[in-house]
Amino acid sequence: MLVSRSNASWKSEDRTSGQFPTGLRVLLVDDDNTCLKIVSSILKKCGYEVTQKSDAESALDLLRKNKNGYDIVISDVHMPDMDGFKLLEHIGLEMDLPVIMMSADDSKDVVLKGVTHGACDYLIKPISIEALKNIWQHVVRKKKQELKEKDFECSGISEDGEQQQISPENFDYSSSVNEVNYKNLKKRKDEEDDEEERDDTSALKKPRVVWSNDLHQQFVNAVHQLGIEKAVPKKILELMNVPGLTREKVASHLQKFRLYLRKASQHQSGRNNAFMGAPEASFGPMSLMNGRNRQPLTATGQIPSRSLATFQAAALSRPTATYVPIVDQRNIFRFETPKLTSEDDQQQLKNNVKQMNLFHGISSSMKPKQFATLHPFAQSSGDMNMEADYSAQMDQPQQMTQIFNDINGGNVSSFESSVGQPNFIKVIPSGVHGPTYNSLYQPSTPPGNSFPLLSNSGMSTLTSKGMLQEEVNSEMQQSRGFVSNYDVLGGLGKNTVQMVNSSLADNFLRIEGERQPDTGVQNNPFPRQLSEEDLFTAFFKQNSQNQSKMTLTLTDTSRTIFLSNKACMLQLSAFENMYIVAVTAEIDLSGS
């Protein structure tokens, strides 16, 4: 039965303080008639407008026809035609309304499922009047978050003077995910490294989708078919028709893709050097931290020892963790005294680091070329700004971003390295440069969170996934979105470590598995003309080789930092300046 809709949608401002917001439009879905009647009656008693549906399909239909007809949905978990969680997902993706789950089942895992699927609340039956009295708070909260997000994104990234404008369309998909991202980013910025938090959130992570080459290709095809402007996750999902692929995953992937495209186009004018920022190395462990809402990096760019420890811990906690080249962030970000050893490499590295520090305010004295090692980001193409929301990996990118931000005093580009993902450091060996996903992932991160790396110096961000290097030229600023690259990467494999700042890596990165030539290579700029798709593909390819192990050794000429993947021994050499931590990630490159 349809309740006639009031023309004016319920606005929180209309509510007089102290009273319930009357007129809140609730859609109630439950196959049990008794409960339906009771809950309906409670809602009416609270002054809400109630529409009842006994099955999920008709509820979804109703919502689709009346996108703005309802403020909140309350749904039972166990229903014969469609699982309540599925309905929850659909609603989240398509309409982004707050959804409250209810059930007689109070077992912890079911409640957890509700949380992970994005329910804003979970009520145990029997439902009491008190429980429903305050559901309006969820509506208000959601609206508030959406507004914040919009502000956030629209304000642009002012780091390098390049504003990364994220159009509101970015919020279209999975805005709830965006919200999550946003929240995560915010948290990261504000909070300090919290190990426990990390542990907790990691448990909540959803399984990642591995965006294999083929899958990505399908995705790209679908996007092209729809037109980049019109590509919405739902349609993409339908076109792709991949079982088991959720809209959320597509949405986050799309976001990354868009960021990637945006960055690519923006970077074309920028420096051609791909930097591999030292930070990227550090992101390996950082990626471990992904999923946590906080980033420990301090504004000075120094990684607090605690965070390093965290990285270690994180790395340790991931048996398959690949490491991310651990960059001695302290060094990296410490520009003021980039005391490189006399060696040229170091000097370069330093420069690179500086560049890397594009993150913000880093002087652009860095020479990109040094960073060229890692695959320059192919700027080409189109709109690289992907705003895909990798919901699954949301955490990571954001965190990385946070990290970067913190490191760079706010300009950090976040790597989202999903630590523990193999192939993380695929530093484009032999010239295979995957696109740097840095740009890909741009969660609702506000500009502040972008990768400075990317923005200023055209650093290429080596995403772990495919060791994509992104050349961040002028686009570095765009790096904001990059942070999310990791997110993308995160989705790719398990232990994806994104390496950013290839330039740094150039000097230090040696990918044994790939038999990458030593330091020398790294200085070679990678051809930039890879189309974003190529990069993506390469990236994905690398990622898809999750199982392969790659040994990545980054060596600083003066010191080496080893991070053994099992023991996670992070020996930070006493660099003063730098930057790259030699990370030995054992990733077998079988078939890479």
């Binding site: 049990d32 008639n33 009771i38 039956k125």
Partner: protein, 154 residues
């Protein structure tokens, strides 16, 4: 009978039901939802409950009678019965559903059959008692009194 007396009987009867665990506070809440705009709310909801429960119990009986028992389906039915009984405050019926679910998980047909018996029994008990209660209520109302339990219970 006098209204007051009827009301007293009603009250005592209800109190006994609570005491013996047949009903719980959810039942009281039902009365809170009953008002002038919804004067017959409690009776309507309870009738719905009776209908749903009987249907579920029949389904359960049938399902357990099958040569190959579909425990998942049975579990779903029991879950629903648990939900609806808890919503109206049919406390003992709800409790009888708990071991039933355990037996379903253990795929124990005999255990399930025993539980079903228990559920049936509890259901019939509460059905009779509530029907009696509503009869009383009708009489009270017919005699000009009100039976808004909430007022009495609070």
């Amino acid at each position: 009978m006098e209204v007051n007396q009827l009301q007293r009987t009603f009250l005592e009867y209800t109190a006994a039901l609570f005491r013996e665990g047949f009903l719980d506070s959810q039942f009281t809440q039902l009365y809170q939802l009953q008002d002038e705009s919804n004067p017959k709310f409690v009776v309507e909801v309870v009738s719905l409950f009776f209908d749903d429960s009987e249907r579920l119990i029949n389904d359960l009986t049938r399902a357990l009678d099958e040569p190959i028992v579909d425990f998942k389906k049975i579990d779903a039915h029991v879950h629903q019965l648990k939900g609806s009984s808890s919503s109206i405050g049919a406390h003992r019926v709800k409790n009888s559903c708990l071991p039933f679910r355990d037996f379903c998980e253990a795929q124990n047909t005999d255990g399930c059959l025993r539980c079903l018996q228990q559920v049936k029994q509890e259901y019939l008990l509460i059905k009779n008692k509530l029907e009696d209660l509503f009869q009383l209520e009708k009489q009270i109302v017919a005699a000009g009194g009100s039976t808004n339990l909430v007022e009495w219970m609070l």
